[in-house]
């Protein structure tokens, strides 16, 4: 009986192609969108978290200008190389300090030129900002002290000027200065906000100050705390030291600021949390819409199906036999739809995460929840009307309007 009923249910599914397809489609969309949304949300979160870790959660940035909205004040006196040395020497929770100064310049090699950012700094820069040297080497002490015109290229600059060629030893022109390439940094790719993190080059701070900037100002200090947990302490200590060095009394608004990557990462964490919640909300709505779709298709066909049940009862089917057939139909369609939905959702999110350079994380719990919900709706609305109809007198089922 089970086997015959199963065959009959499958025949009914094939026979009512349109109804079967629409029911299945409802479940596919419900399940698929939930999985796609939540997987994307999780991917975005993972990407941002990765990037922050990549940037360094123990990173602090010291820059001139009061802490307020808008651009940094231009009236605040610039930082000096001595500030960097003092912080490194006097603040116990600080590991390394990289003083930097930057400006944009045109770099030329042969017939190729590229507008990029030129940063003057020390070897600490590579450590604090976590740029690995992929090719060649970092600066020697002589190059740093003597302010020799040498540079280490970001991956983008190397690609623009040299393509696949070997850049080591080549002489490029940076602004008005001829400069020889001694190294290339490993690429980091785009940041969360779409910035190319590899579009710059580094030269010794002394060379930059003397040959390009024409002054001894330092724009920013990149500071690494000795550990991730020490950033808050490091921030307090640096602020205290800098107040002293710049002669700002307690209670007075400082003309510099210290940014803590941990704060930034916490903020981003809140943002991505909100993003995931939002996507989850959208997904829940799509699940609901998909569920209503399934429900509608099932309810629209109730009249026709009730008559069908009447016919089957009249020609001698027992209530249980009719019910079993309808149950098998509903379960088959819901399961089929659910599996297609999972495949659909995973495919969409896989393609989307690849396109957006995000990690692809499969979330089994969401898959199970989406599948269970849709299947329940499908089975409930396929089965319950049939159950009601099978309890009627056959003549009432036949006359159902």
């Amino acid at each position: 009986m089970i086997w015959a009923t199963l065959l009959m249910a499958l025949r009914e599914i094939r026979r009512n192609t349109m109804r079967s397809m629409l029911t299945t489609l409802g479940i596919v969309i419900g399940v698929g969108s939930v999985i796609a949304m939540v997987t994307l949300g999780r991917g975005a979160t993972a990407k941002i978290t990765n990037e922050i870790a990549n940037m360094g959660t123990n990173l602090l940035i010291v820059m001139p200008g009061a802490e307020r909205r808008g651009p940094a004040s231009t009236t605040a006196p610039p930082l000096k190389i001595e500030d960097a040395k003092a912080i490194e020497r006097e603040v116990s929770s600080v590991d390394k300090v990289a003083p930097t100064a930057s400006r944009s310049a045109l770099v030329v090699y042969g017939n190729k030129n590229w507008n990029t950012s030129v940063t003057g700094s020390t070897n600490e820069f590579f450590a604090v900002r976590r740029f690995a040297i992929e090719l060649g080497q970092s600066f020697s002490d002589a190059q740093l002290l003597g302010g020799q015109p040498v540079c280490v290229l970001g991956a983008t600059v190397r690609k623009e000027l040299f393509g696949q060629g070997d850049p080591l030893g080549a002489a490029i022109r940076v602004g008005a200065v001829s400069c020889s390439v001694i190294g290339v940094m490993a690429p980091k790719g785009q940041s969360t906000f779409g910035q190319d993190q590899d579009d710059f080059l580094v030269m010794p701070l002394a060379a930059f100050q003397r040959r390009i900037a024409g002054n001894y100002d330092v724009g920013m200090l990149f500071v690494s705390a000795i550990s991730d947990g020490m950033t808050t302490k490091a921030k307090q200590q640096i602020e205290a030291l800098m107040r002293e060095r710049r002669r700002i009394a307690l209670g007075q608004v400082p003309d510099f600021r210290v940014q803590d990557m941990k704060e930034i990462s916490d903020t981003l964490g809140t943002v991505t949390g909100a993003l995931t919640a939002l996507l989850g909300g959208i997904a829940a709505v799509s699940l609901l819409v998909g569920g209503i779709g399934i429900m509608n298709i099932m309810l629209v066909s109730v009249t026709e199906r009730t008559r069908e049940i009447g016919v089957r009862l009249a020609i001698g089917a027992r209530g249980a036999e009719v019910l079993l057939q309808f149950l098998v139909e509903a379960v088959t369609l819901s399961t089929l739809g659910g599996m297609l939905g999972i495949a659909f959702g995973l495919t969409i999110s896989f393609v989307a995460t690849r396109m957006m350079h995000m990690p692809f994380r499969v979330l089994p719990d969401i898959i199970v929840i989406a599948f269970a919900f849709s299947a329940t709706v499908g089975v409930a609305f396929g089965f319950l009307p049939a159950r009601k109809a099978s309890k009627l007198n056959p003549i009432d089922a036949l006359r159902h309007e």
């Binding site: 001698g316 089917a317 027992r318 007198n393």
Partner: protein, 238 residues
Amino acid sequence: MTAAARPEVAPLIELRGVWKSYGRGDAEVHALAGASLRIDDGEFVAVMGASGSGKSTCLNVLGCLDQPTRGQYLFRGVDVGKLTLDQLALLRRNYLGFVFQGFNLLARTTAVENVELPLIYRRVGHAERRRRAMKALEEVGLASRATHTPAELSGGQQQRVAIARAIVTDPQMLLADEPTGNLDSARKVEIMRLLVDLNRRRGITIVMVTHEPDMAEYATRMVHFRDGSVESDEAVGP
């Protein structure tokens, strides 16, 4: 249905003072009001009456599609009122065939599959099912349309498919509710000839509800209903 073993003893059908009422109190309506009727094997009974006279309700009760409110319905001496829903289903499955005014074929289902349906519930194997369904279709002259769906068939053809579905199980009794109601006169005659043939040749007892005296002429007995009970009962025909 142990009683089926001694058909010479119990009549096929016996209604004893059957009532079917709807509603309650002052609003109570009696579709059947103490109807009594006996039908023997091999009869072709035409049930006539104005609309609301209870003739259709009587047929539904006979077909176990509906239960009487009061009174007794004996099928081969068995009190149908004491059977469970499942037992009623088995009774319909093994002894009865139905032809409805509105055909009631399954949509998007071919003629032969429609005819096979009762056999599925009788656990007949696939090959045997197909063979018997084709034979029934041949009997109603529609073997050539076996793979057509109801939508591709005329009303007369659909009704013949419905008759094939009703007789494919070799029922003891065929119940027809206005089987010609939706057809033009030429088709009506066609269907009636088919029913007469099934009655005479195969000995299937037929109970047919109709409001058309012309159609009733084909029967061997005419029962008139009025206000829920039998008003007249006479033999007709050749």
